[in-house]
């Protein structure tokens, strides 16, 4: 789902603005067909931006503001309120470790310590080689398999710190 940061910045430089933002207009048209209108589209549009780039590039935030005729401050306010949105580029794979209750009582902290040691970064950061971005989430909804982490779209449950290095190796650089 997540495109690399490089893609994002490259597009900014080489494509004409109108063309670059065509995907946003398409998203607006789709939503209009569903009867959705105006500011109601703000969050869906931000989701479209993030779906395309993996984060919210500043130019696209400005484009969203223009399309919806709302101040950029409003767009920024919404983008920073919700945990889902990122303002910085992401790595190739996204690791989400669960910090929810079920995982907490089954040793999620030990997994996080092991991840920190293995990746050499703190939650919220991307490895210098751009391979992994590591995020914390409140619950992945697979609590029965606690402790759980999710890498891209794959769940890894009943996990022990010892299993981590082997699992990480299966995700290419």
């Amino acid at each position: 789902m997540a495109n690399g940061a490089q893609d994002g910045s490259r597009l900014v430089q080489v494509q004409a603005p109108a063309q670059r933002f065509a995907y946003l207009q398409a998203a607006v048209d789709d939503a209009a067909a569903e009867g959705q209108r105006g500011e109601e589209l703000l969050i869906p549009l931000l989701q479209a931006v993030q779906g395309k780039f993996g984060y919210l590039p500043a130019e696209d935030l400005a484009a969203v503001a223009e399309i919806l005729h709302v101040p950029l401050s409003r767009v920024y306010g919404v983008a920073t309120f919700y945990n889902q949105f990122r303002l910085t580029p992401v790595g190739k794979h996204i690791i989400r470790s669960c910090t929810g209750t079920a995982c907490h009582v089954k040793g999620a902290q030990m997994l996080r310590d092991a991840l920190q040691a293995e990746l050499g970064i703190a939650p919220g950061q991307t490895t210098p080689d751009g391979r992994f971005t590591w995020e914390l989430v409140a619950c992945l909804g697979a609590c029965g398999m606690a402790p759980v982490i999710m890498i891209d779209d794959e769940f890894h449950g009943r996990l022990t710190p010892q299993q981590l290095p082997r699992i990480l190796r299966t995700y290419s650089a």
């Binding site: 569903e34 009867g35 959705q36 105006g38 500011e39 109601e40 589209l41 703000l42 969050i43 869906p44 931000l46 989701q47 306010g77 919404v78 309120f81 919700y82 945990n83 889902q84 949105f85 669960c98 910090t99 929810g100 209750t101 079920a102 995982c103 907490h104 009582v105 089954k106 989430v137 409140a138 619950c139 992945l140 909804g141 697979a142 609590c143 029965g144 398999m145 606690a146 759980v148 779209d153 769940f155 890894h156 449950g157 009943r158 710190p161």
Partner: protein, 613 residues
């Protein structure tokens, strides 16, 4: 489509009721089983069926959650009705071969313990015996992606009955008489809420399904949406008919992409069949249903914040009244209910309020779905009648505490809920008994704890969550969560005083009374309930600088058991603080002054010689 057409609608694949000669393998495709390899099992089964050339004989169905996540990946075989546990890819060929012969593959059956005889049918497994499956009746039994399965199981009959035989008022009356109360946490009577929305002035009116499921440690709503999406869609259409709404929204949590996908498909299929859109089933009713994906904010589970989020704003709550029934989405009368609440409605309409209300307690009717997690043998998704005791849930359904340890507490209701102790094991569970005990039903997260869980650390954990998720609009919540968290961190760090305990109680009371929304009003619950039932544990941290559960790192003293130490020096090389010294082949020592209590030496030692006190 009229009622007669509906009856005649051919099921594309019939659940339970099989076409003669066909064997069904119902493979759990829920996140729980997927995380333990369910996808690979399904792929292997497809391959095995193809190889055996058994496509005309064996039907593979990817279902929603069967509930017994602990035993996942699970597969149910029909019509022999055998339940396979912890299935592996390498079992696929054998499963297919057995299915073709109409036999049961004994080695995959559930065994209560390794010596016990295997159990064939799911109903005979202790985990399922005390459960009553109403909301989850079809979860794990049908293909959630096929509306035909839902129809064959009696789906959309309630809608047809309501539209053709009942007035909106009669629908409301039936829901009222059933005693159904909101499953989203508060327990407000559902029928009454619908009536208030129907009677409110203003148009258009809206209906909303709250699928934000923010409680970290709960997955009931996700499982229903992924396992039986049409029951929720049907409940929503019934509600729209009852309150007079023509547009509805399902607000789904960002972390549930599978649920969104399943719902999108369900809505499209319902529209194709004429259950959504214009002139539904020829009744003249119009209704459109949209999905709104949340963006990751716990507070958006609160109804006014949720509506702000749908409108495209920051998800901040506003004071109530006015309640959504009077002034909700875009200022119009709006009915908002939880996923499970809606999923209860179709059966109330088809089978009647009296049937529904026959189960449960005086003031809480029907069943409740719980997500059973934590330090318990059978983690999973369970549905039990209201009024069942905690003991029955934890020991009979949940199989008791893992590793033969001792039960310590159960955390119920998530970050808004509380911790109950052994003295509550025989408490019959309903909305009112839980509130009286200082917890709450909440959404249905039930986390079991044993003596390895520190209650102070758990209170700190929840307060940290609430501090992060407080939207910051009102002062009691914004400041209160921060101050309470700092105090709890002090206690966990061994710097607490007894005054801190009264400070926690006082601040908690202020937050309960003065906060704007339910988040701040309930955030102190985990702290207040643990102070009430586990005060001695707080005191041990403060007075004896000791964490009885051995969790709070700052309070642990590390030492090396001289008898066990071989003097390999691995721990010393591992120690980031240079706190471990010694001579090779002689016992090493830890300098408590230098030790930073990271626990690295415990992991490094191959001889289990590093101990904590």
């Amino acid at each position: 489509m009229s009622l007669e057409h509906l009856d005649a609608a051919p099921p594309q694949s019939a659940p339970g009721a099989l076409q003669t000669g066909m064997t069904q393998l119902l493979v759990c495709g829920d996140s729980g089983c997927r995380s333990s390899g369910g996808d690979a099992v399904l792929a292997a089964l497809q391959e095995a069926v193809r190889r055996a050339g058994a496509e005309g004989q064996i039907q593979l169905v990817r279902t929603g959650c069967h509930g017994f996540c602990e035993a996942g990946p699970v597969v149910l075989v029909e019509p022999v009705h055998a339940f396979y546990c912890r299935v592996n890819e390498s079992d696929a060929a054998d499963m297919v071969a057995a299915a073709r012969r109409g036999e049961v593959l004994e080695r995959l059956l559930y065994r209560p313990d390794p010596q016990a005889p295997p159990v064939v049918h799911p109903e005979d497994i202790p985990f399922y015996q005390k459960q009553v499956k109403r909301v989850l009746a079809r979860c794990g039994r049908i293909d959630p992606e096929e509306i035909g399965d839902y129809l064959a199981a009696g789906g959309y009959q309630a809608l047809a009955k309501a539209l053709h035989q009942m007035t909106p008022e009669q629908v409301i009356e039936e829901v009222k008489r059933s005693g159904l109360r909101g499953r989203g946490g508060g327990g407000f009577p559902t029928g009454l809420k619908w009536q208030l929305t129907r009677q409110a002035q203003g148009s258009p009116k809206y209906v909303i399904c709250n699928a934000d499921e923010g409680d970290p440690g709960a997955f009931m709503d996700r499982s229903v949406l992924e396992g039986d999406p049409h029951s929720v869609v049907e409940g929503l259409i019934l509600c729209a008919y009852a309150v007079g709404a023509s547009e509805g929204f399902i607000y789904v949590r960002a972390e549930y992409p599978m649920a969104v996908k399943t719902l999108r498909r369900a809505i499209a299929q319902a529209r194709e069949r004429g259950f959504l859109g214009r002139n539904i089933l020829g009744s003249g009713m119009d209704f459109e249903l949209h999905i709104k994906e949340g963006a990751g904010a716990f507070v958006c589970g609160e109804e006014t914040a949720l509506m702000a989020s749908i409108e495209g704003r920051r998800g901040m709550p506003r004071p109530r009244p006015p309640f959504p029934a009077q002034s909700g989405l875009w200022g119009k009368p709006t009915n908002i209910n939880n996923v499970e609440t809606y999923a209860n409605v179709p059966m109330i309409i088809t089978r009647g309020a009296d049937w529904y209300a026959a189960l449960g307690t005086e003031r809480s009717k029907g069943t409740k779905v719980f997500a059973l997690t934590g330090r318990i043998n059978h983690t999973g998704l369970v549905e039990v009648p209201m009024g069942i005791t905690l003991r029955e849930i934890i020991y009979d359904v949940g199989g008791g505490i893992r590793g033969g340890r001792k039960f310590k507490a159960v955390q119920i209701g998530g970050p808004s809920g509380g911790c109950l102790s052994a003295q509550h094991l025989d408490l019959p569970i309903d909305y009112d008994s839980l509130t009286a005990a200082g917890a709450m039903m909440g959404s249905g997260g039930l986390v079991t704890l044993d003596e390895t869980t520190c209650m102070v650390d758990l209170a700190r954990f929840f307060m940290n969550f609430m501090r992060n998720e407080s939207c910051g609009k009102c002062t009691p919540c914004r400041e209160g969560t921060q101050r309470m968290l700092e105090t709890l961190e002090r206690i966990c760090g061994g710097q607490g005083t007894l005054d801190d305990l009264s400070y926690l109680e006082k601040t908690g009371q202020v937050m309960k009374r003065a906060s704007l929304c339910g988040l701040g009003q309930t955030a102190p619950n985990p702290v207040l309930s643990t102070l009430r039932y586990f005060r001695a544990e707080y005191e041990a941290h403060i007075l004896e600088h000791r964490c009885p559960a051995g969790v709070c790192k700052a309070l642990l003293a590390y030492y090396i058991e001289a008898d066990l130490c071989r003097g390999c020096g691995k721990c010393a090389r591992q120690c980031p603080a240079g706190a471990i010294t010694g001579e090779p082949k002689h016992p090493y020592q830890i300098d408590p002054e230098k030790c930073v209590r990271c626990g690295g030496c415990v992991d490094a030692c191959a001889f289990d010689a590093v101990r904590t006190a």
